[in-house]
């Protein structure tokens, strides 16, 4: 089965059995969306919450959680997914240096949950927060998300 790594700030949607991966996720947030009837899904590797977007900056930049979700919804709809049936999973949003008191990870998680709620998308599972990195594998056919940690 084909595998495709989704790098920071990028989104990929697949309906052909691809496994989508994101390696070494820290404060970034991986958002997966899956349509269990059409068996297609997408993975976004977002970096930042929308609140950190500079004024005047392109609102479609998929490094931001809201724009990444919008982009996935658009692509999934174009491939025939029923957005009313989508289920979401979240991985990441850590703070790798707790002493630095960075709130990027936490804000990523909060903003993604807010966006999903506003789109009426059910959050099926999450592995978020803490101070540990995670790697993600998303099977676009089954919707199964596998999380790997080194510790």
């Amino acid at each position: 089965m084909n595998r495709a790594e989704v790098h920071m700030g990028h989104v990929r949607v697949s309906g052909n059995g691809e496994t989508l991966t994101a390696s070494g996720v820290g404060s970034c947030l991986v958002i997966t969306l899956y349509d269990p009837v059409h068996r297609i899904g997408g993975l976004a590797h977002a970096m930042l919450p929308p609140a950190s977007r500079p004024s005047g900056r392109n609102g479609h930049d998929t490094k931001y959680t809201d724009a990444a979700i919008d982009d996935m919804l658009k692509r999934l709809s174009a491939r025939g997914a029923d957005t009313r049936r989508l289920e979401a999973k979240l991985v990441g949003g850590a703070n790798m240096f707790p002493d630095l008191k960075s709130d990027i990870g936490e804000a990523n998680v909060a903003s993604a949950k807010e966006k999903l709620a506003s789109e009426n998308i059910r959050l099926a599972a999450e592995s978020v927060g803490g101070a540990i990195g995670q790697s993600v594998e998303f099977c676009s056919v089954s919707g199964i998300v596998t999380v790997k940690k080194k510790f």
Binding site: S23, G24, G26, S27, C28, M96, K150
Partner: protein
């Protein structure tokens, strides 16, 4: 490596060698094997994103905002901790609080040496802050720093340096992260990149 970057790196290596020799009480030789300026998007492939590393991060402020990240493969960090504590290399299997403090000090030394020569060369005032240490996947550690800079600038740039500590030789990467505009102010060699 451009000639200018090579000269800066050699000067930083000399400063770091002297400071590390004092810290360890034995001759330490720091050699800059490679120095490059790259877009951050090309950073993670330089070190495997899932490679477990010990990272020492120091925020940098002053006339520019950025961060330094000293990265050791976990095994190298354990050996270096032994050397710093005067133990036989290979003794340590897990870092103690004292070991972490010693590795943070190495981060201070190497970052301070490199920032000092960059500041001298560019006239840009740079201040390093308290080091923070973590051990995890390189991608997870580096991406948080990149994300922090991406809030201000989407095109941050890095300098990557390998240091070798002799007898035994220990390799590490020192990565300096600055936003694109700050990098152009700090690295005159940027014009050649």
């Amino acid at each position: 490596m451009t000639a200018k970057l090579e000269n800066l790196s050699s000067a930083a290596a000399q400063k770091a060698s002297e400071a590390l020799s004092k810290l360890t009480g034995r001759p330490a030789h720091v050699e800059v094997v490679r120095a490059e300026i790259r877009p951050v998007t090309e950073l993670v492939p330089a070190i495997g994103p899932e490679e477990v590393v010990v990272g020492v991060c120091l925020p940098v402020t002053g006339d520019a905002t950025g961060a330094s990240l000293l990265v050791f493969p976990k095994e190298s960090a354990l050996v270096l901790a032994d050397l710093l504590a005067g133990r036989e290399p290979g003794t340590t299997t897990a870092l103690s609080g004292l070991d972490e403090s010693a590795l943070k000090e190495v981060g201070n030394i190497l970052t301070g040496a490199y920032l000092a020569v960059l500041a001298d060369a560019s006239g840009v005032w740079l201040v390093e802050h308290v080091p923070n240490l973590t051990c995890d996947m390189f991608g997870a550690i580096a991406s948080q720093i990149v994300a922090g800079l991406a809030q201000e600038d989407a095109e941050a740039l890095i300098v990557e340096v390998e240091f070798a500590f002799q007898e035994p030789v220990l390799k590490s990467h020192l990565i300096l992260f600055f936003g694109a505009e700050d990098a152009r102010m700090i690295f005159p060699a940027m014009a050649l990149a």
